[in-house]
Symmetry: C2
Subunit: 220 residues, 2 copies
DNA sequence: AGTAGCCGACCGAACGGTCGGACGGTTTTC
DNA sequence: GAAAACCGTCCGACCGTTCGGTCGGCTACT
């Protein structure tokens, strides 16, 4: 078996990470190839030994993201659980994954549209397939009566839009843990679509995350 | 009274509109000043007669947006109504305004971060003030018990993130009317935060917007 | 000897921005 | 009332810089 897990990441992966971070901070067009190379500790010429073009760099970032995230939500969507629970789990998974690799996912959400036409077709198809899992869950829930009879297309765009917005303001150095945000957002998604509240009253002492207005102090 | 309403918009406004459209489509850094000028029917040199820099162009687009949208939601936030109704109205207003001037608002949401540091401070402050209206409504609702005891900061980011995502996929040429989207999204926002469903059962025949999966076929 | 990785030097094109002046319509001056 | 001064608007030509990308060659490991 050639090469087990390394301590130092490969130059190639380092380039991808630097590119993702810079694309996220400055945008695809606002970032120069020389900057990316410099952030990875090499020169622009050397970068072109690893990647054919700036476009290829972006393409691979998106590919990484989608190939890691899609299987997880597809498994959740196919699970033998009530739609509401699948929705909660999918939204939670989505947010966790998004924060875990925030730079790359931010590129997926924000910079994917700058892909050259040929690569963009592939990208859009894969993104659609990802979103399909959410539509499937919602459609199941509406059909079974578990969820309110909303427009499935509209509602899944709403849920994904809500969850995706996390990339804009979340900072791991802040006071909020990944799990806190993920569960709260999943909860909002489920409750916005549930047909009826589970019970009239209790959820007795529930850890409630009350107050604290200025939690997510937004940068940029 | 010098000059009543014109039939042809001023060159200046034409430049702002062209810039907003191109910034939205290609990003701030992906759009050249010459492109903007050309789209407005003049040359790059002439553009610099109306605006001091590319940055100033972006700054004015954001200023236009915030100065039009803020008073509306602040009035709603200050109205003498239950928090849930104010939330519904604010979200509805937000989405309507967003679609009405989609190009400029998209710049506000996506390209604002590319403002030069000095202008960006002002921009962030005004955006915060806008968001403050939503936090105020949510805080009122939580305090009065009308809404669930969620984190106000987190929930308002969620609501705004959900609503803002509309700029990414809505197209006025599509099958969905502005009002349909606005009301549906406002409904999702309210229901995700309401403490209890208004009644156990009915909402009898309610126009339900059912089905139709592939409603918002996403471009880009 | 081969090759993976890296680099300095370079290329043409495009960038944001400047400059001096042309054009036409008003206002001022004699 | 004609001439002169003015002004908003526009343009072509140009500036220095930076861009994405290429190329030939150097090094080090196998």
């Amino acid at each position: 078996m050639l090469e087990s897990t390394r301590v130092t990441v490969s130059t190639r992966e380092q380039l991808l990470r630097s590119a993702a971070r810079l694309f996220r901070e400055q945008g695809f067009h606002g970032t120069s190839v020389a900057e990316i190379a410099s952030a990875a500790g090499i020169t622009k010429s050397s970068l072109y030994h690893h990647f054919a073009s700036k476009q290829a760099l972006l393409g691979e970032i998106l590919e990484d993201t989608v190939s890691r995230a899609t299987p997880a939500v597809e498994a959740i969507a196919a699970a033998d659980l009530p739609a509401a629970e699948r929705l909660r789990e999918a939204a939670r998974c989505h947010v966790v994954e998004l924060i875990h690799d925030q730079d790359k996912v931010a590129c997926f959400v924000e910079e994917g549209r700058y892909l050259a036409p040929e690569l963009r077709e592939v990208f859009v198809a894969k993104r659609d397939r990802y979103e399909q899992s959410f539509r499937r869950i919602l459609a199941d829930g509406v059909r079974s009566g578990e969820l309110r009879p909303v427009s499935v297309g509209l509602a899944s765009l709403a849920v994904l839009g809500m969850c995706n917005s996390v990339v804009h303001w979340y900072q791991s150095s802040g006071p909020l843990s990944v799990e806190t945000v993920a569960e709260e957002f999943a909860d909002l998604a489920v409750k916005s679509l549930l047909r009826e509240q589970p019970s009239g009253g209790a959820e007795p002492g529930g850890r409630s995350l009350v107050g604290s207005s200025a939690s997510g102090t937004v940068p940029a």
